[in-house]
Amino acid sequence: MNPITPIINGMKITLKHMFMKPVTLQYPTERPKVAKRFRGLHALNVSHDKAKCVACYLCPTVCPAKCITVEAAEDANHDKYASVYEIDMLRCIFCGYCVEACPVDAVKMTEEFELANYNRTDFIYSKERLLVKK
């Protein structure tokens, strides 16, 4: 085969890409577009100023990474609520089973993906940190 042709073909592709939109994002100045169904950081849904979670323990039961800690308690109206709801993000594999298992739509996964932190302890998200902010 003509030794020049492959070089020309290669250069064609190179030239084509020079005029295409680059795949790389100039993060953090450029932000990715996160899909609606992306499985990022968890959040606890709020209803009537209270977390919707009823501490049924289905999410820690189903969690394959065993990263969810729930402790139930009884409030003044004898209702069940989660006094402790912690997710260890170092262990979480973002499978979304917890969201699927939740019978009361209390836990969801957000588009938040920037989870880097300086301390290991900061990766344990307590209930306060997980509550949906208004």
Binding site: C56, L58, T61, A72, A73, E74, K80
Partner: protein, 824 residues
């Protein structure tokens, strides 16, 4: 046996079985909500419908239909499944679907069946119930919105517990389970209703929201409170005992428990548990290391006869035997005892001389097989509630005649046709002797009785115990004694039951021999449904006796040890688990003795009042953290494994004693399993037992009887003093020993000491319910809350002994009856 066909399978079943039982027996599962092994068939839920070919294929309830020869039964045809689905749809129509917040979820029969039959939709519509939820008591929560009206709670409360707190009220769609006047539940809180509830209508409040059922591991064990030897299942999560779980297949009692067994488990995983050895330095207990503490203890144990020991009969057989070995072989002392030195004398003194063995000649299983029960003191129910359930069932289902000799009325007195002979306190022995005398006088003795050794002496010694003379002294009628004697003699099978314990100092060797004499005179022993059953107080009281852990061969007994401590002849006292300051008679004397003794070692779970006085405190394991064997009151030897891992910083008593043996120059004892085989070989009745052979359901150690009549001593009866009341001590239903104070459940319903007095005394002293009254005796005075009950006769007051905040031993010095003055 009858032959029948279930689902094309040829099976046999007993004649008395229902279709449901026959199917279960042969491994065929029929779904059901309203059935429990212990209860009578009811047929409420209609889930167990089956088709019987002979009945023209109609659907009939399996749980109420008895089997007949040649029946051809189908349990799951398409029609049956359709019907069951409909039943579930109708149940789910009003059932709130709040499984996420319901603690029953995972263990719920309705949930499981809904899943199994895939009832995903409902063709019907209706409103859910909105009954008020009963939060009125601290132990049992009642949510009638979830109820499926199976009636199990009401039936178990009536048929077995015989309390009758719950029943169906209202009609039709409005039917619900309610209490009297539709008020809050206020009962004896045994929690049987919670155990049998197929849904989440009845829940244990101490366990509320603690864990989901599937997250717990279930560990079968043996209850650590009274001597009944009930089997329990502990629910464990994260190495913590969170609850007790019902299992209808467990034990002779089929999973039935009392309030302390079911709700008193919190002491195991309590925050108050000791975790490090403590050594007293400059008058304060300072945290220390095991090495330092054990070295110190070992040094002080080298004192031969000046060393004494008291052990609680809550230790395992292995531990008690090893402790004895340590004391006898390595320390060189015979001064050791348990249970205040007298609570076991009915066995070690009484039965030993009358029957030749320090054990009861009957078992708990004999109760339901008997024809007549003679119960001494209604307290038998309070001390051993599950034995009480056996009595309830025997009387109600089998028509057993029940006669109670007691100084007060009680729950057993309320059973149908029960006769309660209320006598003056402290006169039970005299009455038993009068019955023996009547048997002799009225020629009601068996022919073989005269051949038993000591017959002539007994006849002579009983001459003073005529029915008339004793009746006058004891405040009853001679006719009552004579009727009882005749009934006892004429019954085909008769069983005498009496409780023993640290609060029942009158239930001693004399009482045991007096009861044994009756059994021997009428030949009612060594047979099914006959004999004398002593209900010993603690979970291993019988084991402590079998292991020989009591004063013998010239060793000092419990009371003498404390006297010797005060006198200075005992220099080192090792207390393993006992709390003499609260549970032994005469608070001031015990305190003086414990203060006087040179060196006091206490091995305990908690820093009890006694442990606080010690020079060295050793933190040890509860039964849930170790393995071993317990021997129940009827000599049922049961093995149990550790349910949880022990805290790494504590040791079991067995490890403590082993360590001390080696420190005192002995050879390292073997593992508990090997050691048990060793001691079993040398203990009468235990031969051949081992941990492996006991693993499944334990074994009864047989009791060999060598009968002998023992002549009674003439004892002056208790004479009531004018202006004073007679105080009798005992056990409260909610407590056992002093351990139950650390079980939260019992403390929720019975948190403090009280004094029970009759209505007439209450009006005489102008005392109202709940008043703080002062009781004074010759040894001290105490302030207690008054409880006015119709069960007390005039002139008699009752107070239990479990409470450290107001210990009754400040006014009680160990006599069966104490004269006290009552003032407001």
């Amino acid at each position: 046996m009858v032959n029948l066909t279930i689902d094309d399978k040829q099976v046999t079943a007993p004649k008395s079985a229902t279709i449901y039982e026959a199917a279960k027996l042969n491994g065929i599962k029929i779904p059901i909500l309203c059935h429990d092994k212990k209860l009578k068939p009811f047929g409420a839920c209609r889930m167990c419908l089956v088709e019987v070919e002979q009945m023209k294929g109609r659907q009939i309830p399996a749980c109420t239909t008895p089997v007949t020869e040649g029946m051809i039964i189908r349990t799951s045809t398409a029609d049956i499944v359709k019907a069951r689905k409909m039943v579930l749809e109708l149940l789910l129509l009003n059932h709130p679907l709040d499984c996420p917040v319901c603690d029953k979820s995972g263990d719920c029969d309705l949930q499981n069946l809904t899943y199994e039959y895939q009832v995903n939709s409902n063709r019907f519509t209706d409103e859910k119930f909105s009954h008020e939820i009963d939060y009125n008591n601290p132990l049992i929560e009642r949510d009638m919105n979830r109820c499926v009206l199976c009636g199990k709670c009401a039936r178990i409360c009536d048929e077995i517990v015989s309390y009758g707190a719950l029943t169906f009220i209202d009609r039709g769609i409005e039917t619900k389970i309610g209490c009297e006047f539709d008020d809050g539940l206020n009962c004896e809180f045994c929690g049987s209703c919670i155990a049998v509830c197929p849904v989440g209508s009845l829940l244990a409040r101490p366990f509320k929201h603690k864990a989901r059922f599937w997250a717990m591991t279930k560990h079968p064990s043996v209850c650590g409170y009274c001597g009944t030897g009930c089997n329990i299942t502990l629910g464990v999560k994260d190495n913590k005992v969170l609850t007790t779980i019902y299992d209808e297949e467990q034990g002779f009692h089929k999973g039935q428990l009392c309030v302390r067994g079911r709700f008193g488990y919190q002491f195991i995983s309590s925050e108050k548990r000791l975790t490090t050895p403590l050594i007293k330095k400059n008058g304060r207990l300072i945290e220390s290391t095991w090495d330092e503490a054990l070295e110190l203890v070992a040094g002080r144990l080298k004192g031969g006869n000046s060393v004494a020991a008291l052990a609680t009969p809550r230790l395992t057989n292995e531990e008690l035997a090893l402790f004895k070995k340590l004391l006898v072989e390595n320390v060189g002392t015979k001064n050791f005892d348990h249970a205040a030195g007298y609570a076991h004398t009915a066995l070690t003194g009484g039965f030993a001389r009358s029957f030749g063995t320090s054990a009861s000649s009957a078992t708990i299983l004999d109760i339901q097989k008997s024809d007549l029960l003679l119960v001494i003191k209604t307290d038998a129910y309070e001390t051993h509630p599950v034995v009480g359930f056996e009595i309830n069932m025997g009387v109600k289902n089998n028509g057993i005649k029940l006669t109670i000799l007691s100084d007060k009325r009680g729950k057993l007195s309320k059973l149908p046709d029960a006769t309660t002979i209320v006598h003056r306190p402290g006169s039970e022995v005299a009455i038993l002797n009068a019955i023996a005398k009547t048997l002799l006088d009225d020629k009601l003795v068996t022919a073989t009785a005269a051949t038993i050794a000591g017959y002539a002496e007994l006849e002579k010694a009983l001459s003073g115990f005529t029915a008339e003379a004793v009746a006058a002294e004891c405040g009853i009628t001679a006719a009552a004694i004579k009727t009882l004697a005749a009934a006892y003699a004429s019954a085909e099978k008769a069983l005498i039951i009496f409780p023993a314990g640290q609060a029942y100092s009158g239930h001693n060797a004399e009482l045991a021999t007096a009861a044994a004499n009756l059994a021997l005179l009428t030949g009612k022993y060594d047979r099914e449904g006959c004999g004398v059953l002593c209900l010993s107080e603690k979970n291993n009281s019988q084991g402590a006796v079998d292991m020989g852990f009591f004063a013998q061969d010239g060793g000092l007994n419990g009371v003498q040890i404390l006297d010797a401590c005060a006198a200075g002849t005992v220099k080192t006292l090792f207390i393993a688990g006992e709390n003499p300051l609260i549970s032994y008679p005469d608070h001031a004397k015990v305190k003086a003795a414990l203060e006087a003794v040179d060196f006091l070692v206490v091995s305990e779970l908690f820093l009890t009042e006694t442990a606080a006085m010690a020079d060295v405190v050793l933190p040890v394991c509860s039964y849930a953290e170790k393995e071993g064997t317990f021997t129940s009151t009827d000599r049922h030897v049961q093995y149990f494994k550790a349910a949880i891992r022990k805290n790494i910083k504590i040791k079991s008593d067995y490890e403590v004693f082993s360590n001390l043996v080696t420190r005192l120059g002995g050879a390292l004892p073997p593992t508990p399993a090997l050691f048990f085989s060793e001691i079993a070989a040398n203990t009468p009745g235990y031969q051949g037992l081992s941990h492996v052979s006991l693993r499944k359901e334990g074994a009864f150690a047989p009791v060999a009887t060598a009968p002998k009549f023992v002549a009674p001593l003439a004892v002056a009866p208790f004479a009531p003093e004018t202006g004073k009341l007679a105080l009798v001590t005992g056990s409260a239903l909610y407590h056992n020993g002093t351990l139950s104070e650390y079980g939260e459940g019992p403390m929720h319903v019975c948190p403090e000491n009280y004094v029970e007095l009759s209505r007439s005394d209450a009006s005489l002293y102008k005392i109202a319910e709940g008043d703080l009254v002062t009781l004074s005796s010759s040894s001290g005075s105490i302030k207690l809350k008054a409880k006015i009950t119709p069960r007390m006769p005039a002139g008699v007051v009752f107070s239990p002994y479990h409470f450290s905040a107001a210990p009754i031993n400040t006014i009680w010095n160990g006599s069966p009856v104490t004269s006290v003055t009552v003032s407001k």
